[in-house]
Symmetry: C2
Subunit: 224 residues, 2 copies
């Protein structure tokens, strides 16, 4: 079933849509930057090339978003500017110190952000929603993360507990920075609250995202 | 006139060709890594996005080279391994400390490496030569570098002298690491010496590369 768009969805080119594209664009540009950096933590050239490939894909997504923003007559830098501080804070508070932390961040952290924005994609016009779903594909990332984490846990079971804690930290920082962004950008807060039906809608959305996060942790074998 | 291939060119899949693809592949992977890193030196999001785009392009080139190597039944990691130390040495000895140094490195340093490999491309089979020429395109990089450097020099003429010195350092380190690689890899040394016609050919090749380098410095206004 294709995702449905709310009947009173935010309109193409509206302030809320440009804000949404701006936060997504900076999200992709900073994901590119961090994945490229984290790739250096790989134990060998094969893993490094795999994570570098993810970075290159994120850059392609950035380009699509920046082009869309420019199409509305807004400079991408300007649309991204309000979100730089929150995303940089998230990344600097969750800088991986090992390859496995980098792998878990690329799957769990980016995955949860993707779930959130896919929810938001149902609250905007169809054209924007389609673009958001396009740039949030996570093709192959699950297989990659499961393979790397399971191999490491098989070799040293104590790794699982440390990575589970790390994932919890990623979730905490992601929630914290999302709250900062929403408190700062009224257009996005309104989009979310009005689009989901307000008092009942937002908690339901959070439950869906939390459930999907728990599924990822099970897939990685980090749910104990 | 299309580039000509020497009649006694190294054959597809030969040791020299796999070595050549290996050094190019690691060159692209490390260029991706360094450009992504150097993009953080940009004074604004627009410049950062431009240098990140160059990094993403280099990753695409890496992928083409790695696929070709794998097609010969060789693991790309294995083909790249002999060249990691020399390329890492080059990059760590030429880590830019300013945005303009990064810009000059992306144009002058990568440009000279490209000239060298385009020369080598004429010494191997046609299919390998075509792939090498494909991955060495520098579309748009000259315009980008000229714009950034000219703007900076216009504002502060003393910058020109410092950047000219920096470019000289890039050339020196590039030559030094190329010599290390050739001393280590007999297949590449033979390819170069036999392919160019030996004692007369190599100096002529060096002259062509030096001339092209001098042209780039003129383009940048750093030739005084």
């Amino acid at each position: 079933m294709p995702p449905t768009t709310a009947p009173d969805a935010a309109a193409e080119g509206s302030e809320a849509v440009v804000d949404l594209l701006g936060v997504l664009a900076y999200g992709e540009l900073s994901a590119f930057d961090r994945l490229a950096d984290d790739a250096r933590l790989a134990p060998g050239l094969a893993g490094r090339a795999e994570m570098s490939a993810m970075a290159a894909v994120e850059f392609g997504h950035y380009r699509l978003l920046a082009d869309r923003i420019a199409g509305y007559g807004v400079a991408p830098e300007q649309a991204m500017a309000p979100f730089v501080a929150a995303l940089e804070a998230y990344h600097s508070l969750t800088t991986p110190s090992t390859w496995l932390e980098a792998v878990v961040k690329a799957y769990v952290g980016d995955g949860m952000a993707g779930d959130f924005f896919r929810e938001v994609a149902t609250l905007v016009d169809n054209s924007t929603g389609a673009l958001i779903r396009e740039v949030l594909t996570e093709a192959g990332r699950a297989e990659f993360a499961v393979r790397e984490v399971q191999a490491a846990v098989a070799e040293s079971p104590a790794v699982a507990g440390r990575l589970a804690l790390w994932a919890r930290r990623l979730v905490g920082e992601a929630i914290s920075q999302t709250q900062h962004v929403l408190a700062d950008r009224e257009s996005l807060m309104l989009l979310l609250v009005e689009g989901t039906g307000g008092l009942t809608g937002v908690p339901a959305l959070i439950t869906r995202i939390t459930d999907r996060h728990a599924e990822r942790m099970v897939e990685l074998g980090l749910d104990s």
